[in-house]
Symmetry: C2
Subunit: 253 residues, 2 copies
DNA sequence: AGAAGTTTGTGAACGTGAGAACAAACCGAG
DNA sequence: CTCGGTTTGTTCTCACGTTCACAAACTTCT
């Protein structure tokens, strides 16, 4: 895994983007475990929800329930950020919310470009959850001239050739790929060359990127297939048969 | 976690749906590790791609590269399914592809309902990756009468009230939720009551379901936030400053 | 047939994550 | 001020996942 161009995918649960274990020189470098990082946005959302209901403080138990995890895990996750709670009392909702937002980095604004404005691209462009959480879509790009000029969610679709200029001018660090699979790697290469260092990939395609670039993938059909696996097991189990036997028989066939 | 209605979310990397550890009576029960299950669809896709290029056999190294993992992990994953390779030679592409497809359960056809046909629902309904991989969308449901009747990808949008009848008649086991967050739990409850036992949730909302029901979530803004976290660390590191110091200073403020 | 070269499958070491349990710290009542 | 109740932060243990390393098994060449 020391090639200059290694795919940074894998991980334990479908989508992922692990940083190289030894990204820095120091051994620990105050690193928050990846599993915890993935849960922080969930806590943030739960806190926002509590805040909207004018809740001033909450216990780890309440917050954990709202976030769908157990309280021990929650407390351990929060302990990586620091000691922001008060024993015997709980957490101040607003304070904790700000601390998590700061740790994730969503107190600042992140400009984002979306490439590939098909069905999915349209949905992403219209998704309000981005702007409300520190992300600002600065451009919608598509290689197809027929689509260019069309207005989607208040933004015009522009040529993919505008990419380099855009990234430089607006300091875009995050790109979203919503193109067909066969175009994904080329688009990815252009994004990286233009200076994008974080990519969210919706195309069903393994992307290979140089070190220092993070890729996370969201793959709809993979999620369904994982569900299908469990569903199949359920129906087999329901049939009251011994799973090993069935598998053994099927394999012989 | 023994409540009759426990949220089955969490997991190490964003989206997930762990089964209860002791789902069956036996200790092992030929269970394939969850992390492996999540990668099988990736291998399946890589094999399909190789097959389309008329490749008859491949080594674990080749397949691993195509799937974006390292070869040791690939071999270990495949070893949970059985011994389908030949030492000194590699794997027969077609044979292995069928074995993985059978293990996942995509050799059969899975009827799927999609609830909530907004922007995202439209995109999902038009996504060709479902049908080509063993999933058949049997209905698009929406509670909004204004949307009902509209044709999306060859299917008419129907009333959400048709759900129960549909699930029974077509033996639907998998449901996709693409509604706004505030409707998600209600829709989820209706789906479960109707007999759906696997749910793919796109709404930014923690769902609570009874035991025996699997939920996987796909959350776009969470993925972006995870990227933002790493992006922030990158820019701090690039500034050449000691991360601990910066964090310490910011926290005092 | 035997030797040399490949490649799989797996045992063992290592690292990471989850959960239980508990001491430390805080609040409020008396 | 002290005591009892509450809740956090942390330690310890166990389970899971990843990676290394190598024997077993196969092919090919001589």
């Amino acid at each position: 895994m020391s090639s200059p161009r290694s795919a940074r995918n894998g991980g334990s649960d479908g989508s992922s983007a692990k940083r190289t274990p030894d990204a820095g020189a120091k051994p620990a470098e105050r690193g928050i475990p990846e599993a915890t990082v993935a849960r922080l946005p969930v806590y943030l959302r739960a806190l926002t929800s509590l805040s909207e209901r004018s809740t001033a403080t909450c216990s780890s138990e309440e917050l954990a329930t709202a976030a769908g995890v157990n309280s021990a895990k929650l407390r351990k996750d929060l302990s990586y950020l620091g000691s922001y709670g008060t024993r015997g009392v709980g957490y101040d909702v607003e304070y904790l919310r700000y601390q998590i937002a700061r740790e994730i980095g969503v107190t600042q604004d992140w400009p984002v470009v979306i490439v590939g404005i098909g069905n999915l691209g349209h949905a992403l462009a219209n998704y309000s959850g981005f702007s409300s959480r520190g992300f600002r879509i600065v451009a919608l790009l598509d290689a197809d001239p027929a689509r260019q000029g069309e207005d989607v969610g208040g933004l015009g679709i522009r040529s993919f050739d505008d990419l380099e200029q855009l990234v430089e001018e607006q300091r875009v660090a995050i790109g979203v790929i919503a193109t067909p699979a066969q175009a994904a790697q080329d688009v990815c290469d252009r994004l990286v060359a233009a200076g994008v260092t974080s990519i969210l990939n919706f195309a069903p395609q393994v992307l290979s990127v140089p070190d220092g670039v993070d890729v996370r993938k969201v793959d709809l059909s993979i999620e369904l297939q994982i569900l299908a696996y469990h569903e199949q097991r359920k129906s087999l189990a329901e049939a009251g048969a011994d799973l090993e036997t069935i598998d053994a028989i099927e394999k012989v066939i």
